[in-house]
C-alpha cells in the first residue's frame, strides 16, 4: 500500500487528553472534594460544585479483541455519552453522571461476561505480561495462568472483605515487563538451565563482546568452537537470568521441562503506613502445568486465604508478615523454607537476621 510521503508527519506525540474528557470532568478538573465506594465496582466522586461522577469498573483480560473494544464503545455510548477510560491495571471504567444508568450498565457488563468490582479491600485485576501469546523470552504463559488464578480468586474481585487491598502481578521472565517486584503476591516465570549456544549462528546473529558483557556474574567468556569464534558459559556461575539471550538470540534458554514459575510475597508501592517494599521469595519453583496450572493456583489461593484469616484491618501482605515474622509465615502457610530462600546475590547480607529477636515454639 503506497503512503503519500509528502503528507507524512512525525513527532506529533499523543493526542491531548482534553479532547476525551467528559464535560463533568472538564468542569470539575482539580476541584474534586471526596469519593466513596458506593458498592463493589462503583466509585462516586463528588466535586466541590456538588457534581457527582460515577465510575463503573469492569475487568478485562488485557488482551482485547477489537470486537470487544467495539462492544465497550457501544456500552459507553449507551450509558456514558461515549466516555470511558482504562486503569493502570487493565480494568475499563465507564464514566456515568446519571445515577439511574449505573445498575443497567453493571448488568450489561456482567451479561457480556466482564465482571464488575476490583475496588477497596479486594483483589483487582492482575497486571501481567505477554507470555507464550507473543514473547520470545517467556518461561511460562502469562494470560493462561492469570485466567486460571482469577477464575479461582473470583469472589475476591467482586467482594470487599479482605483486610486491605491485595495486588497480584505476573511476569513471564526476569525481565519483568510486569514489574512484579513490589506486589503483595507476584508470580514470576523462571528458567533453570544454562543457555544452549547455537555455535553456528552466533557470529551472524550476535555481537560477541556485548554478549559477554551482558552477563551479570561474568559467566560468559569467548571461546573457539570447531574453529569458529563463539562463547562458552561457566555453568556454576549461571543464574538463568536470560540477559544474554536478550542481546543474543543464539543463546536460548526456553526449556519445556525445566521452565516454570516462582511465587513472591509482601511487596507494595504505595507509601500508606509502611514505605514501599520489594516482594520476597515464597516458593522458588512450580512446574508449568498448562492449560490450568493447578499447583500454582492452589499455592496462591493458600497464601491469600492464610492472609485473609490472619491479618489485621488495613494490613497489606508485607505488613502482616513483618508483624508476625517470616518463620510464622512459613508455618501458617505450610510452605517449605529451602536454601533457595537465602539470598546470595549482591547485598545478600542485608537480608540475614542480625539479632536475637526471635519467637520460639
Amino acid at each position: 500500500m503506497a503512503v503519500d510521503m509528502k503528507k507524512r508527519v512525525t513527532d506529533i506525540g499523543p493526542p491531548h487528553y482534553d479532547k476525551f474528557l467528559p464535560p463533568v470532568i472538564k468542569k470539575n478538573y482539580g476541584k474534586w472534594k471526596y469519593h466513596e465506594i458506593v458498592k463493589p465496582g462503583v466509585l462516586m466522586h463528588v466535586a466541590e460544585s456538588g457534581d457527582k461522577l460515577y465510575s463503573v469498573r469492569a475487568a478485562t483480560p488485557r488482551l482485547a479483541s477489537i470486537e470487544s473494544i467495539r462492544m465497550f464503545c457501544d456500552i459507553a455510548d449507551e450509558f456514558c455519552d461515549g466516555h470511558l477510560r482504562y486503569t493502570s491495571r487493565n480494568n475499563v471504567e465507564f464514566l456515568i453522571t446519571d445515577e439511574s444508568k449505573i445498575d443497567p450498565c453493571v448488568a450489561r457488563l456482567k451479561k457480556e461476561g466482564y465482571p464488575v468490582g476490583g475496588m477497596g479491600p479486594s483483589i483487582t485485576n492482575i497486571v501481567h505480561t505477554q507470555g507464550w501469546v507473543h514473547c520470545h523470552s517467556a518461561a511460562t504463559d502469562a494470560s493462561g495462568v492469570v485466567k486460571s488464578l482469577m477464575d479461582e480468586l473470583f469472589p475476591y474481585f467482586e467482594e470487599m472483605n479482605l483486610p486491605a487491598k491485595l495486588r497480584i502481578a505476573f511476569a513471564c521472565c526476569l525481565n519483568m515487563c510486569g514489574a512484579v517486584h513490589c506486589s503483595d503476591i507476584a508470580l514470576l516465570g523462571v528458567h533453570r538451565r544454562i543457555p544452549e549456544i547455537q555455535h553456528d549462528q552466533i557470529k551472524a546473529q550476535c555481537e560477541i563482546p556485548s554478549t559477554v558483557a551482558a552477563c551479570p556474574t561474568g559467566a560468559i567468556r569467548t571461546a573457539t568452537v570447531d574453529g569458529k569464534q563463539s562463547v562458552e558459559v561457566i555453568e556454576e556461575q549461571c543464574m538463568f537470568c536470560a540477559n544474554c539471550y536478550t542481546v543474543c538470540p543464539a543463546m536460548t534458554l526456553n526449556d519445556p521441562e525445566m521452565d516454570g514459575l516462582s511465587i513472591w510475597v509482601g511487596g507494595k508501592v504505595s507509601n500508606a503506613r509502611h514505605e514501599p517494599m520489594f516482594s520476597k521469595l515464597a516458593i522458588p519453583y512450580i512446574p508449568n502445568e498448562p492449560p490450568r496450572w493447578p499447583t500454582a493456583v492452589k499455592a496462591v489461593k493458600n497464601i491469600v486465604e492464610t492472609y485473609a484469616k490472619n491479618a489485621r484491618k488495613f494490613e497489606r501482605v508485607g505488613e502482616w508478615i513483618e508483624r508476625i515474622g517470616w518463620p510464622q509465615f512459613f508455618d501458617l502457610t505450610g510452605i517449605e523454607f529451602t536454601k533457595y530462600h537465602i539470598d546470595d546475590f549482591t547485598h545478600a547480607g542485608e537480608s540475614f537476621k542480625r539479632s536475637a529477636q526471635l519467637r520460639h515454639k
Binding site: M1, G30, Y34, H347
Partner: protein, 399 residues
C-alpha cells in the same frame, strides 16, 4: 473470513470459568474478515502449539520500524513460519496513549477499524508501560499503520534505549488527592521529549511516571527511572464533623486502625477530637485513605522527585530514591526538564550499554552523581548516613 477456526482443545480449557477469557478474545478476532481474521486464527494455532510443547514459539530481533524512528515497533517472528504463515512476522506496534487513558468512543472505534484493516484485530489495553499495544503487524503494513495513526492524531510510543512512553494516573481529572496535574505534566513532558522518545540515543531505557499522591497508583517508585510522586508541605486539611461521623460509623476503630497505624505516631484521638502533629507527618496517606470525606492533603502541593527504579535485569531490582524532596510542578515544568536533561547528559556520556540510571548511580556513587548533575547532598536522600568508614576523602581540599 476464515472458514474454520484452528482446532484448539488445550486452550479451549481457558474459555471456561467466570473470569473474562483471552482465548475468547483471540477467537473474536479470528472471526473477522480479511487478513486480520487469518492472522488471529494462526495466533490461536501457535498458542495451542505452545500449550502442547510447554514453550514459546516467538523470536525477537531484526530491525523493523517506521522511517526516521528508532523505536515504537518491536520485531517479532514466529519460529514455525511454514505451519503458521499468517503470523510469520507478527510485530508489536506501541501507540502512545492519551494521558490518564481517557477515550471517547469515536477515536477508539477508529483505532479498531485501523487494526482490522492493517493488523490482526488483537490488542493489549494496555501494555505494562502504558501504551496501546497493537499485536501482530506485518513488516509491509508498518508505514500504512503509521500514516493512519498520525492522521487520526496518534503517534508511536517508545522502545529500546530511549525515553519510554510516559504515563500518569488520572490525577486532577478524577481524584481529590492529586497534588499536581499529573496528566498535564505527562502530556507536556511527552511532547517536549518527542525526539528522545522516538530516536534511541541513551545507554538504556528511561521511564517517567506521574503519580498524583503518595498512594502511587501508577507504581512510579518501582517502575520508572524518574518517579514524580505528588505530596504537600503544609497541614492536612480536616473536617472535624466528618471525622466524628467516621468514628461513629463503625467502619473501623479510630484508635487502633487509624491513629495506631500512623507510621510516625503523629496523631492522637481522645474519643472526641483528632489531633495531628503535622510537622511529624510523612504524608503516607493512610489516615486520608481511611477517611476521604474528613481529611485531605494540604493546600501547598507539589511533588517529590525520585530516581532510579527498575526490574532485576541486569544488576538487580531497585526502587527509586529521593532526588528532590519538593518541587512545585507548575507548567512548563522547567525544573523537572532541566533535571532530566542534566541526568541524561551525564548518564548518556558515561553510562555503559544497557545500564539503567539506577545502576549507573550504584556504580559511580551517589555523591559523585549528585556533584556531576549539580544537586547538593541532603539528609532526605538517605535512610541513614553510611555505616562504613571507607570514605573517599578528596585530599586536595586539605591543601
Amino acid at each position: 473470513m476464515v472458514e474454520k477456526l484452528r482446532d484448539t482443545p488445550k486452550i479451549d480449557e481457558l474459555m471456561k470459568g467466570p473470569w473474562p477469557s483471552f482465548v475468547k478474545e483471540i477467537k473474536l478476532s479470528a472471526k473477522l474478515s480479511g487478513r486480520a481474521g487469518e492472522r488471529a486464527n494462526d495466533l490461536l494455532g501457535v498458542l495451542e502449539r505452545s500449550y502442547n510443547d510447554k514453550i514459546g514459539h516467538w523470536k525477537h530481533g531484526g530491525i523493523v520500524g517506521v522511517m526516521g524512528y528508532g523505536g515504537g515497533v518491536i520485531g517479532r517472528y514466529n519460529d514455525l513460519p511454514e505451519e503458521f504463515p499468517k503470523v510469520a512476522h507478527f510485530h508489536t506496534v506501541r501507540v502512545n496513549q492519551p494521558s490518564g487513558w481517557f477515550y471517547k468512543t469515536d477515536v477508539l472505534r477508529k483505532i479498531c477499524d485501523l487494526w482490522e484493516k492493517h493488523g490482526s484485530g488483537v490488542t493489549n489495553m494496555h501494555g505494562s508501560t502504558g501504551d496501546i499495544i497493537l499485536l501482530g503487524c506485518a513488516t509491509e503494513d508498518l508505514e500504512p499503520v503509521f500514516a493512519d495513526l498520525t492522521e487520526m492524531g496518534f503517534d508511536l510510543g517508545g522502545s529500546g534505549s530511549d525515553v519510554r512512553t510516559p504515563s500518569a494516573c488520572c490525577g486532577m481529572a478524577r481524584c481529590e488527592w492529586a497534588c499536581y496535574d499529573t496528566m498535564g505534566a505527562c502530556h507536556d513532558i511527552t511532547q517536549t521529549f518527542q525526539d528522545e522518545l522516538h530516536r534511541p540515543a541513551f545507554p538504556y531505557k528511561y521511564k517517567f511516571k506521574f503519580a498524583g499522591c503518595p498512594n502511587d497508583c501508577v507504581a512510579s517508585v518501582a517502575r520508572s527511572d524518574m518517579s514524580i510522586i505528588g505530596t504537600w508541605r503544609d497541614d492536612i486539611q480536616m473536617d472535624a464533623a466528618a471525622v466524628s461521623e467516621y468514628a461513629q460509623s463503625g467502619k473501623f476503630d479510630m484508635q487502633a486502625d487509624v491513629v495506631g497505624r500512623c507510621p510516625t505516631g503523629c496523631m492522637s484521638w481522645d474519643g472526641q477530637k483528632l489531633a495531628i502533629d503535622n510537622r511529624n507527618c510523612v504524608k503516607c496517606m493512610h489516615c486520608i485513605n481511611a477517611m476521604p470525606k474528613a481529611l485531605a492533603p494540604g493546600r501547598d502541593r507539589g511533588a517529590t522527585v525520585l530516581l532510579g527504579s527498575k526490574a532485576p535485569i541486569v544488576g538487580g531490582a531497585l526502587l527509586s530514591s529521593v532526588m528532590v524532596p519538593f518541587l512545585k510542578m507548575e507548567p512548563p515544568y522547567e525544573d523537572l526538564k532541566e533535571l532530566a536533561e542534566a541526568i541524561w547528559d551525564l548518564w548518556g556520556e558515561h553510562g555503559k550499554n544497557r545500564e539503567r540510571v539506577g545502576e549507573f548511580i550504584q556504580r559511580i556513587g551517589m555523591s559523585n552523581f549528585l556533584e556531576q548533575i549539580g544537586l547538593d547532598p541532603i539528609p532526605e536522600m538517605v535512610i541513614q548516613p553510611r555505616t562504613n568508614p571507607y570514605i573517599f576523602f578528596e585530599t586536595e581540599e586539605e591543601e
